[in-house]
Subunit: 360 residues, 2 copies
Amino acid sequence: MVESRLSGPVRVVGVGLLGASIGLGLRARGIEVQLADASPTHLAIAVDYGAGRAAEPGDAPALIVVCVPPDVTADVIAAELDAYPDAIVTDVASVKLGILDDLAARGADLSRYLGSHPLAGRERGGPLSGRADLFVGRPWVVAAHDGISYQRASVIDDLILDLGATLVEMTAAEHDRAVALVSHAPQVVSSLMARRLTDAPHSAVNLSGQGLRDVTRIAASDPELWVQILGANAEPVLEILRAYRDDLDRFIDALADPAAPGARRRIAEEIVGGNTGVQRIPGKHGVDRRFTTLVVMVDDTPGQLARLLHEIGEVGVNLEDLRLEHSPGAQFGLAEIQIVPEAAESLTEELARRGWRIAG
Amino acid sequence: MVESRLSGPVRVVGVGLLGASIGLGLRARGIEVQLADASPTHLAIAVDYGAGRAAEPGDAPALIVVCVPPDVTADVIAAELDAYPDAIVTDVASVKLGILDDLAARGADLSRYLGSHPLAGRERGGPLSGRADLFVGRPWVVAAHDGISYQRASVIDDLILDLGATLVEMTAAEHDRAVALVSHAPQVVSSLMARRLTDAPHSAVNLSGQGLRDVTRIAASDPELWVQILGANAEPVLEILRAYRDDLDRFIDALADPAAPGARRRIAEEIVGGNTGVQRIPGKHGVDRRFTTLVVMVDDTPGQLARLLHEIGEVGVNLEDLRLEHSPGAQFGLAEIQIVPEAAESLTEELARRGWRIAG
């Protein structure tokens, strides 16, 4: 067992995916975890699952982590601050400024509250989805404010580091603007695109390729959760969506008369702007490094992709990314492999020598 | 060598990715291929690469496939119809109605022309990217019109089937509306979203997750090509973008006053509409079948992913899809594996028994 930075017991309020995962992660380091949830069923599952024990009267947690839905987070934080006057409280809601303002307006004791947000990717719910390593390697934002002392806040840093996440500090407002850009606005853009498919002819959706699949994948997200998130972060999301709409209006105007002077240039500028923007997204290792892509044909039978990756491993090349591309009706897939450019030539030769069909 | 349905020689005009791939695919079946290109360099590469021989005066092709950029396709088709009065002509441009109308307006011999469009996924260029199996398992639309007889059109069906593609018949107008929906509008939506990242703070883009990566992946596409495609299919794309903008406007209005009566419901309806739309996209095997996802932790060292897939193969389970999920700074990846639901329980047990960490 890896030694923990935390000392005292941790109370987790709300044992959905995030709460249960925090409990599991802390239990794996031997920390005492006290669980509470409005649903006795969820609580029982989380306890059975090993995320901690049910909270009891007289518990004296050093740290409280509130993991309830966004629209009740401020209420629960305020109640926890009142009920446990010696505890430090944090939360994991995906929008931070509204909660902080709400607590300040109530006169809550902000000297014991510091909000946070683990970017744990997965938004699917329930304690059964929880896992001890959900946060490992993920950014976990601490939404700094002036009301809490450095020393008191350190227990939250310890929590984050104990769970293997990467601590990122920004203000609540900075955080909310950042997630509006990288998470909330893309959700809207994706959902609205997918919505266009609802009444499309079957023959049209049958021509769907990987591009559409990628653009619309997150459109499968939970509506109830997203109504809360978007409602809680309305201003920053609106700012981006309005700028997006202005671009879209310009684009539509240009496309409505593509032969007009400057119209094609305006269309090109939007596509080029997209090129520039997408290059800013950090890759696997957190840098803008560009990789080389190899496309290899893989038969659609068990073990074929494994054999390919095994042989890539034998050559000593590390995969930076891998994506399978399919086609309805095809009996094979295309494996798009991203590798460092230096390895491309030798790997291509080596795979071809072993009989793999390199497709690009 | 698999027997070909085609008999006479095929002339391919334009040896970029598509033209070179058609040449390679037909050569693999022993068909004589005559190549032409405005660029002597491209032509020489395609010949060296085995896509066919350079066209010569006196060639008498039975079928001509025009594979030039969209904005010159109609011109080249008209010239080919004139130059080879006994040949059937097709093209592979991604927009069909404008070309057909253009040819009709010129009085071209439509009894020998039938446009087509292989949905071959990859839009990156040059004969060096070509491959014989580019079209295998992909839909290839034939844009039917009344001016050509069934018998004459059959040589184009033969071409498509020879190259291993799946023949899909629709009118030119149906085709253009379909690709506007599943390809052209998503390109715009993705590019405009990515464009929002261009002047974002570094701290914000560092919080990017897989959702944003997916939504913006195709924003890396070639601007020059897309200006041509979008310009050539302006009306159907506009129809979708305008409907999309109407949804976006409604969404922005609702979000501007999320406490107003009905506002949250309207937000929810857009997200639910996205849920419904995304479910219509066919999966790998062309059906709406739902798979079960397993998430497995994989160390970021050569061979680990291979070992995982090898062991999945040993268990006899076929991967329906695989996606790697990363996090900046993390020393491992999460492999999201899609399998048929029936296999989920036994595979989970078997992998856990072999020491894999199942994360969801």
